[in-house]
Subunit: 137 residues, 8 copies
Amino acid sequence: MHTDWRNQIIESCREQKLDIAFTSANTDHESSDAAGDVLDPEEKGFWRDHKSAKVNAIRTKTLIEQSDVAIIRFGDKYKQWNAAFDAGYCAALGKPYITLHAEEIIHPLKEVDAAAMAWATTTDQVVEILKYVVSDR
Amino acid sequence: MHTDWRNQIIESCREQKLDIAFTSANTDHESSDAAGDVLDPEEKGFWRDHKSAKVNAIRTKTLIEQSDVAIIRFGDKYKQWNAAFDAGYCAALGKPYITLHAEEIIHPLKEVDAAAMAWATTTDQVVEILKYVVSDR
Amino acid sequence: MHTDWRNQIIESCREQKLDIAFTSANTDHESSDAAGDVLDPEEKGFWRDHKSAKVNAIRTKTLIEQSDVAIIRFGDKYKQWNAAFDAGYCAALGKPYITLHAEEIIHPLKEVDAAAMAWATTTDQVVEILKYVVSDR
Amino acid sequence: MHTDWRNQIIESCREQKLDIAFTSANTDHESSDAAGDVLDPEEKGFWRDHKSAKVNAIRTKTLIEQSDVAIIRFGDKYKQWNAAFDAGYCAALGKPYITLHAEEIIHPLKEVDAAAMAWATTTDQVVEILKYVVSDR
Amino acid sequence: MHTDWRNQIIESCREQKLDIAFTSANTDHESSDAAGDVLDPEEKGFWRDHKSAKVNAIRTKTLIEQSDVAIIRFGDKYKQWNAAFDAGYCAALGKPYITLHAEEIIHPLKEVDAAAMAWATTTDQVVEILKYVVSDR
Amino acid sequence: MHTDWRNQIIESCREQKLDIAFTSANTDHESSDAAGDVLDPEEKGFWRDHKSAKVNAIRTKTLIEQSDVAIIRFGDKYKQWNAAFDAGYCAALGKPYITLHAEEIIHPLKEVDAAAMAWATTTDQVVEILKYVVSDR
Amino acid sequence: MHTDWRNQIIESCREQKLDIAFTSANTDHESSDAAGDVLDPEEKGFWRDHKSAKVNAIRTKTLIEQSDVAIIRFGDKYKQWNAAFDAGYCAALGKPYITLHAEEIIHPLKEVDAAAMAWATTTDQVVEILKYVVSDR
Amino acid sequence: MHTDWRNQIIESCREQKLDIAFTSANTDHESSDAAGDVLDPEEKGFWRDHKSAKVNAIRTKTLIEQSDVAIIRFGDKYKQWNAAFDAGYCAALGKPYITLHAEEIIHPLKEVDAAAMAWATTTDQVVEILKYVVSDR
């Protein structure tokens, strides 16, 4: 269910024939955590995480820089510091982003939302925004 | 206790006569949350937060850009998405930062640590790093 | 008639088979003002405007950054602070722009014109400039 | 009265002993319009304006780039396209700015406000924000 | 003969089937000087030149920024301050450029050559350099 | 054997049908050293090297800036200061790079590895990283 | 007489107690041409010039980047490609500059003037502009 | 002897009362290699080096960015990949640097020298260059 919001947005855009190309970080946690395992194996958790995080960053960094707009989702179960990190990265680059999260976590996300171009609570809202943004009037 | 780590670092640097100027975001939660209240009062929590977050950002943004190194701390109780946001902001600007957090939260912080220049678990370690960095050999 | 100048320029370029792709902000005022309405409804005019303006900015910001030259028109009836804002945005980015306005408003537009690459009074002049710029000599 | 808001802010900050240095564009309209007259005299209004605007820009451009935060005021009588131009310039540079204007002109200023860090309606509010931002907590 | 060097380079690259796209400023002096004439006619030479130079800059600026390497030629008859200006523009952007000029004018061009990636005396040399640079080894 | 690692990576990616375009500096030492010989011949070794290095830089600089990720290999026989130079160039641009070298030279490469996104010891590891990074999950 | 214009401007600013710090490239031609002679002596004029030009550039480059406004003078006797080069360098950096030259050379300087903030014909005019720009109104 | 060249330059500049502030990376190898030891101890050499290199980079990165010119020395005994890395970092930032090395290693340093502003073989030459650059003519 964690990655479901992505599929919902992508599916909905496809159905409405919006000409949008989607990219994302690797959303499969297991393979993402193992991204650096092909390199020398590590015993310490810190360094295993470190290596995988950097390998993933090769992908993420480039995708963020090439995108026109990012969608960053926050749930209330996980810490998702990486999501907030990506938001800060976008903000410093001047790259527009939309946050997607429930009303309950408005307060802890206030800095992240303050630099966002929009805050949505449902994937439908995100799709509507994207549809509006790419429409040719 | 939440802001204690700052004072510990500052005190320790002062005792050791390190020539370092410290700045920080407003660390008083109450006044920080009320930073925008002098402007038109808001009924909705989202907009009250929004206004305060932006007023605080005038301060934070400038301080980050003017600093030589940032120290970003994470605890396990709070979400601290703003801290992760600041880390991403630093990363995109190429501004060095040190993370300060316990070993228990290595995994959710892997992306943030991957872009950091150092990870410390105690304020003493942070002070030692700062002392080393400013020393004149 | 407000958006007529755009169509005149586009039509004229098409007739002359100039290989130019045109993009623009949403020029339909009603839908532009409602761009954020899909998100949570707002009672205060300020926040409704705020949300719509940001959603529109996702589009405008990207289009300005991707364009080779911008055409910015000013009439004497409206304040069009957004047009002047876009001109300043272009100026800071070093993006060339052409202003299109009547002689009567030269004085209040002096700062905007000073940073422009050309000032035109008719759409025909704009087309001639574009034709010249893209011609392959 | 046009420049009164500046003096009010400066006076009030001085009374409260805030350590803030203020700079501004030349606010004397007559001398500002004549800034280029020392160079070759011009018959056409456009070129006289052009030359003065550029001479003024030597000053304004540098001051904007060196400032930590800009305060941009809009009244309802004048077009003040230069103010909106400066706001766009700040936005593209990532320079924080505060707008100061009455509620009546929220709508035409929506794009300018959307990129601002705060909107104030009185100079007292601006002073409070500045006081908060420079306070050392 | 003034534009002959361009054609020699282009022809030679074409014969050798090098996959290089060439662009240039408008090299027809008469139409280049008249580039701004479609706008309001000017009596003063300075402003006529000014307007045409800016219209030409819309083209030149974009082409320089999009190119991978620039070839900048200097003869001994003309002042060609625009060529030296373009070289400085390239240098500040970090855009590589090759100078093409006779040995007699080495001394006055020393600053321009110091920032260049190569100095050639014949168009054949330029073609050889280009051929080498685009070759797929 | 010096350029063998490149071919191994390219071959392996081709076999696995990874959609990756590879570019590199000229890897033929003899022609690389002679890159500037088409220009005026030089007697002094320093200037011959200087000219060739600059001609090669036209190619390298552009390729580095256009790439998404660089692979930089170090052996223990050669000084390869140019490889370390390219790594520093990537680091300053924020361009991700992977180092490829044996365990024996970890210590002298510590600064170069510290700014890298991954360190691999075999070409197979590099291919696995690339495969992971471009995979569409 | 070649450097006289500098002294006239500096003297006049000093007399009027303008708080302006002046810097310049080395204006003594002989020592400027010999700037690299302390390094290995060169037989070829090109390399002697090359070395001196680069040593001078260490100075010039930094001074241009640190200045708030540049004054660039052109005479009709010399080619002064270095002056035009510096103008292009300023233009690409967005650094304001004022040109100082006689009316006779308007045409060959049109590109340089088009990117300038002002064109002056006398040092008195330059001083007036500087005085205006630094005045505290 | 390894760090002697630094002292020679600094001493000589002091004797000649040149107003130059010198900074450098930590030149004491032992303490430099141990820079990260205050953090969690590491068993693997790679990670010990990694941590120390990053702590050192906090210092080096900032010093490079704040300096006006860098002096980068190469000997023939060591690999000094960090020196070449710093040169590449300077080159990408457009920061001028001078190389200091013997004639024997011209060839492997050709790329590093090609992007340098000067190549010196003795510390006296470096001092002469610095003296020239800061002199007030």
